[in-house]
Symmetry: C2
Subunit: 329 residues, 2 copies
DNA sequence: CCTGACCTTGACAACGTTGTCCATCTCTCG
DNA sequence: CGAGAGATGGACAACGTTGTCAAGGTCAGG
């Protein structure tokens, strides 16, 4: 910038004014400065700028894994909102590791991002209090923050599973299994709650073997399904608590002599190409990201003081075939 | 930092030394400073730091769309390499729009990223020359840069398609169709070249209707397939030039009375769950990202001066069923 | 007791920008 | 023609950090 000023024969501040398109500079001077900028290939250093303005126009996004289609869609939605507000996006994957989440968050804060969108991997976010007090707007998505009162945008997991189970019940099923992730994970616990509520709401008993919660490896899902299907009260339908479960279930069920109905939680690409096409309860990944990001920018634009909010987006049942299979005796 | 120094009763520079774990500070002083840091919740401002050190420890990644599984995987690989080098990652989606690509790249440069990984959307990257001369290491991935001599990491698109077509030929096919994207896109042109080479290499003629290049909407793919399958010399096999084509082809082919063999370019999730499972030529998305990022950091660590390099990663044929269907007369 | 080497510490400038404030110049109007 | 107003431009400090360098303190050896 110094060089530009020298070359154009004007003061430092005048160049700054031109760069920022501030008023009060003669068109003639503007032209001279712009020529110098062009000639020298000058580009403003935004980091130095931030030092004065205290706004970085960048936000940080921490999620579990960018490569996961669900988070990839969420990420894209956050990016679009950020772009609309003229902000850039730092992205980081926590890989479900609380330490990594904290590292990323603090690294973003050290870069002085204006705000954070976080998919929690940790269950204790007290480490964030000083940052939030220092003015870093923070919105949690997909799961609530731990021990911290902050904005959060969630899917109505329990409601979604309730709908899915109700759908199976409506198609005549009475013995319905549920396979979900470790109950320590908030979304998994919520989905289980939805299952229990739906069954209870229809006055249906839940068999001892009908629920399996734990790491959702193909092996464990296979084992759980085996138990459910071969016990004294074999299930005629399954609600799969996440994508990994759904995929394994499709494999197992397609090899069985008698059809078993299936509703998966979370949509996935090509679900409609399988045979039978898979009925799912779809979360609105872009919606989560968009809502969270919009909330973040509203906070940044003055809504800072208000009470933390909690938003729940509903999930949507998409019938495709596998969930409409009638019970086989 | 000033506050910390005051509270600990030491000089500014001493705090800086403690924060950066530099040698030459009494353990006693370190303890005092650390207590003050703790008490005040101090966090170093990395942006100010950069102003002095001229290293941001951050890199920019511009790709077509983070929500696309291929780029999501690439993105994750870049992130992992960046993390290993202690760098953070700015991500941006160009949405295949040259203007947006340039905006993103220049915004990253204004933030003074140490380096860039770019999946080109534009075909002219001369606007980047000043930045590169200013020291921003840049690596292009998936497609080469336009009018700019820079590092590039590619998939061997032509070779991959050659392998795919050869596979079909080896299974007895003589009339093979090819549907690809607009020939203006580098990867599409390369894949077409691979197809032609493979056919020529086997001394097979290419029918007038066997090649369709253009926007790969479901409608256009349906139309192209219809022509290929109903002409005087109907094809018995298809090489699908990208994922979108593959998916539409699966739908169309599954509804036909006689089986048609299919090899898709680019792997996709659940390809093995379809019936028949889809044989593909798989690109190594994480490999592209990893290689590009590693190259970037090698440049940053002193390899700066050397000649730009060009790396081609080979694609891998994964037989699953659809590509092994014999020709039906 | 003095000297010199070494260790610890702090003062100060610098990085590249913007905010504040004042100086100058050019009108316009009385 | 002079005064006031408005437009234009620039000097300087400040943002929060680190690099440079020199000051002071300690200790061992002569």
């Amino acid at each position: 910038m110094k060089d530009v000023a020298a070359r154009a024969g004007v003061g430092l501040k005048t160049v700054s004014r031109v760069v920022n398109e501030e008023a009060g500079v003669t068109p003639d001077t503007v032209a001279r400065v712009q020529a110098a900028i062009e000639a020298l290939g000058f580009r403003r250093n935004d980091s130095a700028r931030l030092l004065r303005t205290r706004r970085t126009s960048s936000i940080g996004l921490v999620l579990e894994d960018v490569a996961d289609p669900f988070y990839a869609a969420l990420s894209r939605a956050v990016e679009d909102v950020a772009r609309a507000h003229g902000a850039l996006l730092f992205t980081g994957s926590s890989a479900e590791d609380p330490r990594r989440e904290q590292e990323l968050v603090l690294a973003f804060c050290a870069r002085r991002v204006d705000g954070l969108v976080v998919v929690p991997a940790s269950d204790d976010h007290r480490y964030l209090s000083p940052e939030i007090e220092a003015g870093v707007a923070t919105v949690f998505v997909d799961r609530p923050a731990g021990h911290l009162d902050a904005d959060v945008v969630l899917t109505d997991n329990a409601g979604g599973v309730r709908d899915g189970v109700a759908h199976l019940i409506a198609h005549g099923h009475r013995r319905i299994g549920f396979i979900g992730d470790q109950p320590g994970i908030h979304t998994a616990a919520e989905r289980l709650r939805g299952y229990r509520e739906a069954m209870a709401g229809a006055n249906l008993p839940v068999g001892a073997d009908w629920i399996a919660m734990g790491p959702t490896t193909p092996e464990s899902v296979r084992a759980a399904l085996g138990t459910m299907l071969s016990g004294p009260e074999p299930v005629t339908a399954l609600l799969a608590g996440n994508n990994r479960v759904t995929v394994t279930a499709v494999r197992v069920l397609s090899g069985l002599p008698r059809p078993v109905a299936l509703v998966g939680f979370d949509d996935f690409e090509l679900a409609d190409l399988l045979s039978p096409p898979v009925t799912v309860v779809a979360q609105d990944a872009p919606g989560l990201g968009r809502t969270a990001a919009q909330l973040l920018f509203r906070r940044l634009d003055g809504m800072a003081g208000e009470e933390p909010s909690r938003t729940e987006l509903s999930a949507r049942l998409i019938p495709r075939g596998s969930g409409e299979i009638p019970p086989s005796p």
